[in-house]
Symmetry: D2
Subunit: 431 residues, 4 copies
Amino acid sequence: MNAPGPPPASLVGDVDAAHRYAAVRVATEALAQPLSAEDCCVQSMPDASPAKWHLAHTTWFFETFILEAHEQGFRPFDPAYRVLFNSYYQGVGRQHPRPQRGLLTRPPLATVLAYRADVDARMRRLLERGAPPAGLGALLELGLQHEQQHQELLVTDIKHLLWCNPLWPAYRDAPAPPPPGRAGAAQAGWRRFDGGLVEIGHAGEGFAFDNELPRHAVYLRPYELATRLVTNADYLAFMADGGYRDPAHWLAEGWDWCCAQQIAHPLYWRRDESGWSEFTLAGGRPLAPLQPVAHLSYYEADAYARWAGARLPTEAEWEAAAARAAGVDQGHFADSGALHPRPAQPAQGGALRQMFGDVWEWTRSSYAPYPGFSPAPGAVGEYNGKFMVNQYVLRGGSCATPAGHARASYRNFFPTGARWQFTGLRLARDS
Amino acid sequence: MNAPGPPPASLVGDVDAAHRYAAVRVATEALAQPLSAEDCCVQSMPDASPAKWHLAHTTWFFETFILEAHEQGFRPFDPAYRVLFNSYYQGVGRQHPRPQRGLLTRPPLATVLAYRADVDARMRRLLERGAPPAGLGALLELGLQHEQQHQELLVTDIKHLLWCNPLWPAYRDAPAPPPPGRAGAAQAGWRRFDGGLVEIGHAGEGFAFDNELPRHAVYLRPYELATRLVTNADYLAFMADGGYRDPAHWLAEGWDWCCAQQIAHPLYWRRDESGWSEFTLAGGRPLAPLQPVAHLSYYEADAYARWAGARLPTEAEWEAAAARAAGVDQGHFADSGALHPRPAQPAQGGALRQMFGDVWEWTRSSYAPYPGFSPAPGAVGEYNGKFMVNQYVLRGGSCATPAGHARASYRNFFPTGARWQFTGLRLARDS
Amino acid sequence: MNAPGPPPASLVGDVDAAHRYAAVRVATEALAQPLSAEDCCVQSMPDASPAKWHLAHTTWFFETFILEAHEQGFRPFDPAYRVLFNSYYQGVGRQHPRPQRGLLTRPPLATVLAYRADVDARMRRLLERGAPPAGLGALLELGLQHEQQHQELLVTDIKHLLWCNPLWPAYRDAPAPPPPGRAGAAQAGWRRFDGGLVEIGHAGEGFAFDNELPRHAVYLRPYELATRLVTNADYLAFMADGGYRDPAHWLAEGWDWCCAQQIAHPLYWRRDESGWSEFTLAGGRPLAPLQPVAHLSYYEADAYARWAGARLPTEAEWEAAAARAAGVDQGHFADSGALHPRPAQPAQGGALRQMFGDVWEWTRSSYAPYPGFSPAPGAVGEYNGKFMVNQYVLRGGSCATPAGHARASYRNFFPTGARWQFTGLRLARDS
Amino acid sequence: MNAPGPPPASLVGDVDAAHRYAAVRVATEALAQPLSAEDCCVQSMPDASPAKWHLAHTTWFFETFILEAHEQGFRPFDPAYRVLFNSYYQGVGRQHPRPQRGLLTRPPLATVLAYRADVDARMRRLLERGAPPAGLGALLELGLQHEQQHQELLVTDIKHLLWCNPLWPAYRDAPAPPPPGRAGAAQAGWRRFDGGLVEIGHAGEGFAFDNELPRHAVYLRPYELATRLVTNADYLAFMADGGYRDPAHWLAEGWDWCCAQQIAHPLYWRRDESGWSEFTLAGGRPLAPLQPVAHLSYYEADAYARWAGARLPTEAEWEAAAARAAGVDQGHFADSGALHPRPAQPAQGGALRQMFGDVWEWTRSSYAPYPGFSPAPGAVGEYNGKFMVNQYVLRGGSCATPAGHARASYRNFFPTGARWQFTGLRLARDS
């Protein structure tokens, strides 16, 4: 994780491109390794994709956007894949319908792995050639960042699939959580920021998606952020106070959503005679009070904040705080192996705990283009811009985000009802 | 229309409160006058309400929020109305379900009119008493502004209902449109604004809804606004260029919306062997090329702008331009009698034509609380705040807005798929 | 009610055709008389039609099928009505969509009544001419029988609409029910029938719909029918025994229907602290235990019968019993004015009480063509035949059926989930 | 195929029970053999089940209904399977929701095969013991017949899944179809039956499902049956004549179904520049004109028959004809290996070709209990009776039916919109 330090040398250079390519690609396959071919094939809901599809689509990205343009004598591994594994790039042609990705029992997993191996070999040859063609470096980095995004989705999609199984099977065993600190979890405090004219958006040399650009000025009023994430214990207090039964806490649309879907607790929670438990990638576990609460919709995060006499931060407030060098610390990313959020360390001196990792933090900012935004030309210009409506921005990364992938300017986004990502919140308030 | 001049003396004073109350109330009934009891009863879709319901609900607002608090010996006209005509105020109790408003053939229209007369008499007595109680003035003004909003909705809802009838019956005859000017309609030009730190939001003494507050600073890049609205002729060029068939112009969600609903032209348009016509409140009419295009969804407005190499303005850009004293002129409001947008006069010297009236202008700004926003205490606090999600802001008022109701800081808002309001657009671009 | 006696002289003769025509037409208007224009316009669900539509459609039937063929110099009252008020006759052309019948606030009720008057005058002239053309008699009788069917639908559709109103307004006051007999309601007994080869279907000279033809032989095993209808008290016992909670009583599809729609009592019932009440056309009333239970779906009738250790009769069993001259008595039809089922008189000597009137009796027979059935040529051939799938037959007429309209061979039919007709049941069992 | 000859010795006797059990069980696994674990796991629609689920559920049937009652020291293979693999037996307890059968990636296929082996071993021990307990024989036969039904469903469900894949992969290669006879396919003729009082329903010693009982008398008018099935060429003539565009041919509900789902040809057909092809279990193939048309809904079969001036037979007409010893021949069953219908041999002397096998023949008979029907006591009584509503009877078996499984009295049934079975038709008409 680069923030708050200097960005990684993530732009592909001649020397380490092949190495970095191989590292990212291997990491994806490692995530699929605990899964059977059956696990990899099934789609549990239209929003989620099968693991096999993630394995193939990320490969399609390199084959379509890099090999097709730069490989001499390019021939596709299988011409049918151009449609089968195109996600949403209208500029590339038709797409297999998203809700039917799980019906593709053919090609089998073994063939998809062979597809990966074939494209990897061809990519290696391309990257190990002398001078790579102009423009390849940026596309390569985009492809790797894209693959890292799908690594996270592969994990959250599998979590949803396994949860649908009444047996609550584990994806894999998790390392034992670290023992809680002497003083228990961090007490929540507030840290104040002056506001004024700040700049947000990506700056400097490292990689950024186009939606982080251009860097621009935003005027902020003074505000405060909570020094840690909202925990399960915090959230249980909201529930105990009738939080899901009183429309006064809710956006009107959120209340309708609650009633229509009969929502009364976060996704993956279950209560039986022994109390609350939650489904994790290591199977069912008793609910841990000090863990950050996860798998909340925007509506729930917003309602909790209103109940707590606070509000969600804007993305500019969040980024202005996160970009400061001092007092912003890291949480847990996917490399911790837990694939589950962990309690914060006690805060010291107003440090902002867990600004990065553990859970994505809902902001109150609708996902919109930054002033002066323009997407890239060609089909890769569809990467971000066309989704900038009716979604809300999340910041900071999660326990399923690859380490080094997020940064202070990173913008994630989901519709207000989405709950299957590791989504939580940090409170904000006017100062 | 007050902007850009001084705001009207809309806050209720001791002297003219009863007079102003009567004027607004009579105006609502005048709008219902061309309608039969049948017309007033039926609901054409869940988003629209019957005219009878508008007549009753606006009355309910005064009875519930003013008479119940301030009338001595208050007794409701009919206790059942507390639920029947409550729109969405959870703080007041239960509500008759919105999609079933059209099933209320009882109370009949005549009884609803008697309800209006009864509440009006009681309000008159209250207002003509000596010193009105503290707080009544603000609530009264809110009630009158609320009623004006429902005047516009009554018109747009009736338009939708009559359009559903294959006979395309007229609501009432409209005055003949004024003859086009010598030089035809205004040519679209661009007017430049410097940007920088500007203030938006309501200032001064006049009435404003809570969502226009507090006034606050926003940092803008230099930008340009088109000097007139997009016209039917402009929009036909988009259609002729395959605008509805090329996903490259559309937000992904907008494209899905187009395909799922088989949208290929604005609402209320129809093509037959004699060309395009549109349904108006005066019945079907040949499409007038120089009229501002209306009844567009956010998706369509956004797609048109992208096709045109431009974009929608943000609400801050729009307001900063509209709030200037010079060169911002008026279009047509409901008092023109046309209840239909009219062509712009030719622009002179970079004036912004039709910033107010004719059609609401979609902005790219998601409807969100201003920094420091806090809703009013009590049930009236539900007026605006709880709708601040997944809607987009429109500015400027329309041909169905009562004159004097809109202003530069006024924020209207609708979901992205809504088309039955008089919704159009003005282009913007970076400078 | 003609059964079991000789059929009425319902085929139109030269002499009384105009008289009979007028009587049926006036009866329809009398049913609409208690209703306002608003009541007549609204459609409460896709299955129901507005009263105004019934008034117009029955008129359309005469105009389209008789006047258009037989009137010299025929000119339609309004050419648009050919589409607006066509129900489902593809042979006549397009139809206004059924779910949108309630959106037709124009033509207003007064115009529809003028339409009726105009067609009535033209029909009178036609009927009072000398020799009516060949074929007119059969079409006229069909039109009158058709209008009587819509009289019943007008009543049941209005009942549904008024029930949707939380005020539970009355359609009109009903006459006080007759005092219960000394011995309370009839005790249910069983009457045995030998079975063997019986004939069912219409025979003789009177009118019958094509679906009652041809008369044909059916082989029956010995069976028994209950001597009266199932009552509210009977049904409450089923409910008290957990009838709605035990899937063992239900068809699989019925159980799914119950669960999906959360059905736990007949339509129009409501329970509050004072016990069960039901909505009637005279408003809300305490549930009367001895009244026949009404407003059951096929699923509920079937489940009740299985719970009671019995079954529904087949239509052949029912008709063979009903067609016998002796011991089959009448219940109440619409001319009783009650428009609500009434308790049976105590049975004597095995008489079958209420075989006609009060409530339609679900049979276990799917609605199918009789052996040798052939629909009439032309558009009127669409009257019955094209609905012979996925519906079940009901027999006997109800309290909303015009007196004289039903007969032993009469076949009514509805889908298994329909509940807004006066639908109940009589038990049967093998003997 | 036993009909019209004597029934097979299908009731389990002491001697060959274990042998017959093993043969049926092995046949199921042979059908799954060409499939990968991925193929076996996915569910393509709620009506279809994964092959793995068929493998497990048929095993569950033996474990639950036989081992649990008769095995000493019974312990379930896995207690969770009682819910996971219960199809619809409310008497056994809860069921995993049908539309979510495809989400069960665990247990994996290998474990399900181990489950089969375990239950098979335990069954063998039970059957090879001395005298089997009373009642076991009937349950064993029911379990084997049940498994044969699922063999057919496994085939049709896999066909649907593979068809959903745009690659149209083959399930397995089929043997080459036999060369057409000298005279081409059979010309359709008619064979006449006298009608009168006939008996239908199962008689004699062989196995029958409870829905085939009791045998009972039915009175039939004289009728005729076509001597062969309707072919693809016949059906193409219907299509070429606008069959899918003229509502006059259709039941009203069928026409609505056509329009809503935009149906214009049988399921699995596709037209491209080279003409019509169809998806088969051996992959895509040019449409063979002389093959019986398959994969029709009831609506389509009924519309075709009306267009052809004929009708569908009743199930009694069909059975009375099929039960005659002479002139009723066999088509192709699953043991032919084709898993696809084949052209009829030319008819000779009025023989009824293909009465058994090739395609199930829609009848116009709603699926209803025979007079005197009573389901078995206990949970197995849920086998048939609770589905007797809103479905129509099909007769004769198909190319996917195990040889020896069907018989003249066999009643299959599906809802009117089902098309993924091998469903076709034979014409009937009054004589």
